[in-house]
């Protein structure tokens, strides 16, 4: 391979630069989309099969735990049913008051179901590819979530039939977040395998491990999307902000199907 290396290297460099310009700036990601479109279907099927296998394997090892969880969920379900009734009454009352006060209605979202067909983890970035893109009206910046409004990532690049998602654990993703049931706000940053870090929370603020972190709604994402739970809080004696680590909520879930929230 090293025979005539300089000549080969220069030819390769020129070819790659041409391809980059053709794909990224001239043809609207034609090359990348073509390759992804060809392999999307088999990868979706394989990914789905592997996720189901993983689910089965995990459930074999966790039968006792599942039974306990099932019992707890049944109890919670009964409690939620009664809470739902109260919420229904409150919603009716709320709607009535909004109309009365002529308050602008809360922003509505449309949801698109997507399947993850490729995940890329390495020492620097964490990303996923989903099987819907421009064809479903996906735009960069849209949040990607699971059931229960657990935030998974943010759309970065959109191709005609697929899209690139930056996971919230990717260092390139920063989110405006707040701690549930308090006024404390901060900025989360992806830390790859270590989850997320919560920045800009002053030393004098009272933050405890186990508290829930959710989106604040100040950076264009909807508010109250679940980000994760605080696992460690350390006071920084040399600085003015605490050092806080967050365990992302999506880590405990099996990533197969996700939802993209589209602002109407």
């Amino acid at each position: 391979m090293k025979n005539g290396f300089v000549k080969n290297f220069l030819i390769a460099l020129a070819t790659v630069i041409l391809l980059v310009f053709f794909n990224n700036y001239w043809s609207g990601q034609f090359l990348k989309n073509s390759v992804l479109a060809v392999f999307k279907k088999p990868l979706v099927v394989s990914s789905s099969f592997l996720h189901q296998t993983k689910r089965r394997v995990v459930s074999w090892f966790n039968t006792g735990e599942l039974l306990r969880q099932n019992q707890t969920l049944k109890e919670e379900n009964r409690q939620l049913a009664s809470v739902n009734l109260k919420i229904y009454e409150l919603e009716k009352e709320n709607d009535f008051l909004r109309k009365e006060l002529d308050v602008v209605q809360r922003k509505n979202f449309k949801v698109s179901l997507a399947r993850v067909f490729h995940q890329k983890f390495d020492g620097q970035f964490q990303t996923s590819l989903i099987d819907i893109g421009d064809n479903e009206g996906i735009k960069p910046g849209m949040p990607v979530i699971f059931d229960g409004e657990v935030l998974y990532g943010v759309i970065k690049d959109v191709y005609p039939t697929s899209a690139l998602v930056y996971l919230i654990t990717d260092p390139r993703v920063t989110l405006s977040v707040k701690i549930k049931d308090s006024e404390i706000m901060g900025r989360s940053r992806g830390e790859l395998k270590d989850g997320l870090s919560l920045e800009l929370v002053a030393n004098q603020e009272d933050v405890q491990a186990g508290e829930t972190v959710m989106t604040s709604g100040l950076d264009g994402l909807p508010s109250a999307l679940l980000v994760g739970k605080i696992i460690t809080v350390r006071e920084n004696r040399e600085g003015i902000f605490k050092e806080i680590k967050i365990e992302p909520e999506f880590k405990s879930l099996l990533v197969d199907r996700v939802f993209v929230l589209k602002l109407l």
């Binding site: 080969n8 391809l19 992804l36 620097q124």
Partner: protein, 161 residues
Amino acid sequence: MSNSRFISVSIGIFLTEFILSIFWPFLLRADLFIIFALAVFFLDHTHKTSFAVFISIAIVFDFWSGSHFGNLTLTLLVTILAIFLTKKVVLIDNRVNFSALLWLTGFYYFHLLIKGILYNLGRQFIFPKLSFIDLMETVLWILVILIVYTRVSYEKRVSHF
């Protein structure tokens, strides 16, 4: 290493990463294809792998890299240029040994540094993580790839009659 073996191992790496990303994503702290490509360029003295095939496979991996297209290939090109220049200055043998492991670790981190610089040129610099655990996992993956490389590049010599 022949072209067909290079392609076969690359496909194997893609499938391994695909499966690991679902079952054990925490194991993927290093880019296996980059390590393999660097190992081939650094150690292969048979010159059987065509440069065109080498770059074509890199471009295919680029589509799946999770970054802007071109980032992975250009970074790889800069790193192999660095290997080429290092080999011009320093006398390095082509055998798989401890020194090869050290050189490859160094070049892999150099690749991460270049990737961080190339990403969004000047807008946001993603510095490679330099924790001990990350380093150990990277070294472990380089070791695995070196073993694979040794097994795959071995060719039985048959005497001419």
